[in-house]
Structure formats: C-alpha cells, structure tokens
C-alpha cells in the first residue's frame, strides 16, 4: 500500500490532524519524522495515497497547516 507522509509545525498540529482524519474514518499512522526529511524531533502522519488529496483538503478546512507532503517508501 503506497502512502504519503504529512509533516506539521508541531505535535499539537499532528494531534489535531490525526483526530480530524480519524474522525472521517481515515486510517492514519503516527511516526517519528524521518531524519532525511527533518532534523527536528517531531512526529508525522502516514496516510494512504488514494486518500491523501482528500486528507489535505479536510485539514485545510479544519485549519491545520500541512508543512510538507512526501512520498513514503514502505520498504
């Protein structure tokens, strides 16, 4: 399953995003932000590729800023 990685400014925004997305039935996974993307000690969300666009719209409407969207290699 291909997924996208969403990054946020802080943990407060990650939690807000996670709750909004779970609230509309999206399956999200919280992971530490990979160091290849950011050297900060934050968290990010993994969202399935087919619902990533929808997730972005929902978060924008919910007032949560998504800092970056990255391709995610499942390995």
């Amino acid at each position: 399953m291909a997924r996208r990685l969403f990054t946020f400014v802080n943990t407060h925004a990650v939690i807000k995003a996670e709750r909004i997305l779970r609230g509309i039935g999206l399956d999200v996974e919280v992971i530490p932000t990979p160091k290849s993307i950011s050297s900060e000690c934050g968290m990010s969300l993994l969202i399935s590729l087919d619902r990533a666009k929808e997730a972005l719209e929902v978060l924008e409407n919910g007032g949560v800023e998504v800092v970056g969207v990255y391709e995610w290699d499942e390995e």
Binding site: V9, N10, T11, H12, C41, G42
Partner: protein
C-alpha cells in the same frame, strides 16, 4: 463523580486561595498519567511521549470549550495566573505605553505593572472603585478616552468578591480599540466567561481554584492579533535544528518540560466543572453566600465588606470584628473551631485601601463548590462565639 470531603472535623473556607478538596476524578487523571503514561510530551518519538502530548492537547481543548476560545493552540500553559500575567505584560508592553487598570487588582497585576512603570517607562492609570469594591464605570470610560496599549481588569476581587461586568467593559474596550486583558483567578469555573462575546484579548487563569485542578497549573489565552515576545526561551521539541525560538503556538511560549501530571488533573477538573454546569455552580455558591450574609448581619460588631447583591459578586467574603485584629480572629477560628480562612491583606493592598480595610486587612471567608449550608451555619456560629467572647 463527587468531590472528596475533607476529614478530621476541619472546615475549609479558603477556596479563594486554592480550592480544597478536589474532585476524585482530578487525582485519578493525575494517577493515570503518573503510572500509565509518564512520557515527555512533544519530545521523543514513542507512544508514551505522543500520549502525553495528547493529554496536553485534551486539556487545551477542554479549556477552549469552557471559555469559548476558537484557537486552543493559543492557550499557553503556565504555572499559575501570575506567570500568565507576567508573560502578557513583559511580552507586549513597550516604553511609553499606557496601561489602564483598576484599584481592585491583585499584586499579580500591580507589582509587574509598577516595576514596568519604574524601569521601562510604562504609564499606569488606575481606575478607582467605590467602598464596596465596585468599579467606577464613568472613570473607566474617561480613562479609555486617551490612547492605551492595554486594559487590565480583575474579574472578581479576591478581597471583596465584587464582580466587573466583562461584557460591558469588553464592549468599551472594543470601542476604544484597546486590547482587553482579564484576570479570572477568582471566577474561572464559577462564572460564565466567553472570550468572544466579552471581547477578551488576553485571559489569565489559574488551574487550582474554581477549575479544581492541582497547584502549579494555569495559563494565558492570547487572541490571534497579538504576538507577545516569550517570557522564557528554550527547548520545545520542535524546530530543533534552529537556535532561534519558534514563533508558532503554543511552542513559542512553552519552553522546557511542562507540568503534564498537573495539567492532566486540570483537564479532569475543567470537565468536572462543565459536567456540573456553571449555572448550577453559580446557583450553589449564591445560596451559600445569601445564607452567610443574612446570618452575618445578626452577629454583633461584625463588619461586612463588598456588595450585598449576589449579582454583583462571587462567594469570596471579607469581614472584620470591630476592635479585633483579623489575625487573632483567624487564629481563633482555626484553633478553637477547626475553620480555615485567610486573614490579612490577601496580596491586594490597593483593594484594601479602596474598601477602607488597609493596613489591618480582613478575615476572608471563601466558599467553594463542595461547601454546604451546614458549613455556613458552622462558621456563623463560630464567628458569633468569637464576637461575644
């Protein structure tokens, strides 16, 4: 869920200093964090850290619901209302700024303002109140005619219990274009506070009084059009590659590991208050006040301070026995009757000057959510005995 009664025949009537006892759910929430979570929020990448972050998130959300705050991330946690007030003053005021405040302020407001007046060239104008502790609204209107950087008001006096009409003052501040800051140390959890409807730009609250949380919790809400500089800078778990403080909220103002165990308890306290309902809490405390006020009038030589009408006040009541040192009255209540009150100046010399009780101070009886009519009768009986003895 009910509150725990205090034991050993002690009657606690010092709820304006800190509420006691606390609801059982408060320490259960703290226990849950302490034994089951334990992580440092916003730092590490593991589930216990993330769960701790979630607990802080939930506390912010609960407070946002209580105060009708649309942007919970702009609630910054502090250790008490005093720190919240300092954050606002030191973060927003510049030399030459004029601040309008009231004669009923606590030293949490007065001391930092007087310091800024003396050292940074901030002008402080104090609006008087009458001898009942009720703010002079005409003088306030005149004070707002001149340009001001901030209006700071104590919602309810911690000495006389007198309330300020926040909706009315908020509308005046809006008309004058002045940011409106309110100290709700004595009213959060006991009175309806709506930052939108009352046009409040800065709300400083404490967690351990009417919100029924533990000591060491409090916070400041800052409206989106104001950006104070941080009082404290340091690690936030975010933007760690940078040596500059982040500017986004709440991180900008929350450096260092927060009091997660306390804030977990605060959430439970806030939810307890909301479940019980502000209207019911207000009605309960009103009943206690009316019973006390009526009975107190019958006690010989007992001087009562503050407004007579419940609409004008909260259940913080100041009294004095004519010719008696308040410290001695307080000691008798404790030693002979097991009743805990607070005597003296209550960190509010300006309020006592206004009420005519400076420098001796008063005996302050502060009822809380868990007090009963029997408690009122017991303190009245004790005061009557002390008055006649």
């Amino acid at each position: 869920m009910s509150g725990t009664r205090n034991s050993g025949g002690i009657l606690y009537l010092d709820n304006a200093a800190t509420s006691f006892p606390k609801p059982t759910c408060v320490w259960e929430a703290m226990e849950y964090y302490f034994f089951k979570v334990g992580g440092n929020p916003g730092r590490s990448g593991h589930r216990l850290s993330y769960q701790a972050s979630g607990m802080l998130f939930d506390t912010r959300e609960a407070l946002a619901r209580l105060f009708n705050i649309r942007t919970p991330e702009r609630i910054v946690f502090t250790k008490n209302a005093t720190e919240a007030i300092n954050l606002a003053f030191f973060g927003l005021l510049s030399p030459g700024d004029r601040v309008v405040t009231t004669a009923m302020e606590h030293n949490a407001v007065m001391r930092p303002l007087r310091y800024l007046e003396r050292t940074r060239g901030v002008r402080v104008d104090v609006v008087p109140a009458n001898s009942l502790g009720i703010l002079d609204m005409e003088a306030l209107a005149r004070a707002l005619d001149e340009r001001a950087a901030l209006l700071v008001v104590n919602h309810a006096s911690n000495v006389a219990g007198s309330l300020v009409d926040l909706a009315r003052v908020g509308a005046m501040a809006k008309d004058a274009g002045v940011p409106f800051m309110v100290d709700v140390a004595q009213t959060a959890g006991c009175y309806h506070i709506d930052v939108e409807a009352m046009n409040i730009s800065l709300l400083a609250f404490t967690g351990h009084k009417g919100l029924l949380g533990p000591q060491g919790t409090g916070g400041l809400y800052v409206a989106p059009n104001l950006e104070p500089t941080p009082l404290i800078r340091g690690g936030t778990g975010s933007n760690s590659e940078l040596e500059e403080q982040p500017t986004f909220w709440p991180d900008a103002h929350e450096s260092g590991t927060p009091n997660v165990v306390g804030l977990a308890g605060l959430r439970a306290g806030v939810e307890f208050v909301m479940e019980r309902g502000i209207d019911e809490i207000r009605a309960h405390e009103g009943g206690l006040f009316e019973r006390f006020w009526q009975g107190a009038r019958e006690i010989p030589g007992l001087v009562l301070y503050g407004p007579d009408r419940w609409e004008d006040r909260v259940a913080v009541v100041s009294v004095n026995l004519e010719g008696r040192d308040p410290a001695w009255v307080g000691h008798r209540l404790d030693r002979d009757f097991g009743i805990m009150v607070r005597v003296g100046l209550h960190c509010a010399p300006s309020a006592h000057r206004t009420l005519g009780s400076f420098p001796g101070g008063t005996v302050r009886v502060a009822f809380g959510l868990f007090n009963t009519e029997e408690d009122v009768d017991r303190v009245l009986g004790a005061l009557d005995t002390v008055a006649r003895g």
